[in-house]
């Protein structure tokens, strides 16, 4: 290593090898980050530093001429900063050179996320980089590394299906609603019953633009409580059929032992409706909506198994996109390594490419 050069290194704890009980002990709050960065930089002997702390990972990225020192000092830094006694050395991964670059690009692209393809991690990386950059803790190595990782992640997102398809019941419901209605801002939603999943699904719909929600429950007070939480309107149980005439999406999770909505009842209701599609989400077991309802034109019925099956399929499809995503990342990684090689006059290019992995 010459004086002009530096190793890009990274290490830390992730959900893959460290349980949440341990990760939560060493997570950094946003307000702690500037101090933590300064301390970490000093202890680990880093020229440049970025600290990433999310619910799934606590990782550092750095540029240094002393990579071994950084690897050994990281567990001590965690212990000291958080005043904990656990030894994280065996639980921490350490990478340098090309494997580190590949790691960051993969994380930014969502390839190493608990839910593969999720995009939230990219925002978290951007925030972590912004904090470090704003506090003057980054330089040419990490500036280029992080900025190129954002471009690489964008390339993966636009050229693969890694982010396609939702992987939870709530988000699958939102996706289906969007494929039925397009814009959800004009959709009226009714929740029947008071299940936790139906509430979560309703919240997902609200987040995606649904203006308001009607809540009907056999116990009116319970309907009122849920409606106030969701910012919606409570409806008396005996009135729900009348109010359903104007509804576009119905989510049901009552504990009724029989069908709450039969085909006959729905046919009568459809005659009173304008000619609009109706999306029915049946989250109850036993089911609330008679399955033959799905045979009616302009009616789309999904039960809990349908939604879970779609979520599982999406997850499997995302997994199959990982290899293709890695291929897309390859030239981005090579470009960074070439640039890094030029910075060190070429003498460190091989060294950088070799990397070092320890666990």
């Amino acid at each position: 290593m010459n004086s002009m050069g530096a190793h890009v290194i990274c290490g830390g704890l992730t959900f893959e090898g460290v349980p949440v009980e341990l990760r939560e002990k060493v997570a950094f709050r946003d307000a702690q980050l500037p101090d933590a960065l300064a301390q970490m930089k000093k202890m680990l002997g880093l020229r440049e530093a970025v600290l990433v702390s999310t619910c799934n990972r606590v990782e550092y990225f750095g540029a240094t001429t002393q990579p071994d020192r950084a690897a050994s000092a990281w567990p001590d830094f965690l212990r000291q900063f958080h005043a904990v006694t656990e030894d994280f050395s065996a639980l921490s991964f350490q990478l340098r050179g090309m494997p580190c670059v590949e790691h960051l690009y993969s994380v930014a692209s969502g390839l190493k996320s608990m839910v593969v393809g999720e995009t939230e991690v990219l925002g978290q990386l951007k925030d972590a980089y912004d904090v470090a950059h704003t506090h003057g803790q980054t330089g040419k190595w990490l500036n280029r590394l992080f900025q190129s990782s954002f471009a690489a992640a964008k390339s993966v997102r636009t050229r693969t299906a890694i982010t396609r398809g939702h992987v939870s019941v709530g988000s699958v419901s939102v996706e289906l609603a969007a494929k039925i209605f397009g814009d959800l801002r004009g959709c009226r939603v009714m929740v029947l019953g008071a299940g936790e999943t139906s509430e979560r699904t309703a919240r997902s719909l609200l987040r995606h633009g649904v203006p308001s929600i009607l809540v009907a429950n056999r116990t009116f007070d319970r309907a009122g409580a849920i409606a106030s939480e969701l910012g919606g309107e409570a409806v008396r149980w005996e009135e729900w059929e009348d109010r359903a005439v104007d509804v576009d999406i119905m989510i049901s999770s009552t504990s009724a032992p029989h069908y709450v909505l039969t085909q006959e009842k729905l046919e009568a209701l459809l005659r009173r409706r304008e000619r609009r599609p109706l999306f029915l989400i049946d989250l109850a077991v036993p089911r609330d909506f008679e399955p033959s309802i799905n045979l009616l034109d302009d009616v789309f019925l999904y039960d809990i198994d349908d939604l879970q099956s779609i979520a599982q399929t999406h997850l499997r499809e995302r997994q199959t996109e990982i290899t293709r995503s890695m291929e897309i990342l390859k030239p981005h990684v090579e470009r960074y390594m070439e640039w890094a090689g030029r910075q060190t006059g070429g003498s460190d290019a091989d060294d950088l490419s070799r990397g070092l992995v320890s666990a």
Partner: protein, 275 residues
């Protein structure tokens, strides 16, 4: 018109048809590729093929000094051209470039049969002026617009079937939502009907000699009544979106299957061959 000129302009239509074939292939790939940018290429390929298609019509029109609808070959080429023109307007306007994957195969097939069949026969041209040209142009344009409505209907039916059966293939993510598909399908259907009606209506004002062309009149009346009924029930809200799409597709299949035969049988709509 000289034979060399005919060969020359047919070459443009041949190249355009190859372009539509490439667009159809790429469009089908784009539908299943799960690559968000793939659809743009379908649109660009169709645009390039359309430019050659237009060049063919322009050169043929220049050569015959008439709107190029003087024989069945030209009529089919104009018919498919109006289909593409409508797609090129509707696609960007409603962010429906994906409809190109459905438009290109239909246009390719129409052009292929037009080029393959011995129907490009020189005709003696009637001198009936702009009412005839406007009548023919609007009628064919109307049929083209109705074609795009039917293709949007096909896309709607595919998407609706996936949603109903809970089987979400890669097409599910590429095709637009059913709400937008039904909106486009129904709006374009109404526009197609109005343009076709205007064209058919103008036909009554064209001076002609000899007996009326009852074959073509009856066929046009059937097509008009079919679409008029569809537009009316649509306006009354009596038909489900699925049935509207089905009828729109069925109506257009009827047009495609009978257009050639009717135009061959029709007397007043076939100009006498030269020589």
């Amino acid at each position: 018109m000289r034979l060399t000129s005919r060969v020359h302009d047919r070459l443009w239509l041949f190249l355009a048809t190859l372009g539509y074939l490439a667009s159809a292939g790429w469009g089908l790939y784009a539908l299943g590729s799960q690559r968000p940018l793939a659809n743009r290429w379908t649109f660009l390929l169709i645009g390039a093929a359309f430019a050659m298609h237009t060049l063919f019509l322009h050169q043929r029109g220049e050569a015959i000094g008439h709107c190029p609808i003087t024989n069945l070959f030209e009529t089919l080429a104009f018919f498919s051209w109006s289909l593409v023109l409508t797609y090129l307007v509707v696609g960007p306007a409603y962010r429906m470039s994906i409809l190109g994957a459905f438009t290109a195969p239909v246009v390719f097939l129409i052009n292929f049969f037009a080029l393959a069949a011995p129907i490009d026969l020189p005709s003696t041209l009637p001198h009936l002026g702009w009412p005839l040209e406007l009548h023919a142009t609007l009628s064919l344009l109307g049929l083209g617009v109705l074609g795009v409505a039917a293709l949007a209907g096909v896309a709607y039916l595919i998407q609706e079937r996936q949603l109903k059966r809970h089987v979400l293939t890669s097409w599910f993510y590429t095709l637009p939502n059913v709400g937008r598909l039904e909106l486009v399908q129904q709006r374009v259907l109404v526009w197609g009907f109005l343009i076709f009606s205007a064209g058919a209506f103008l036909g009554f004002f064209i001076p002609h000699h000899g007996p009326d062309d009852w074959v073509k009149i009856a066929w046009s009346a059937v097509v008009w009544c079919l679409y008029a009924a569809l537009v009316v029930v649509l306006a009354l809200g009596r038909l489900s979106h699925k049935k509207t799409a089905l009828l729109s597709v069925a109506g257009y299949v009827f047009i495609l299957l009978t257009f050639w035969g009717i135009n061959s049988l029709s007397e007043a709509h076939v100009f006498p061959h030269e020589g």
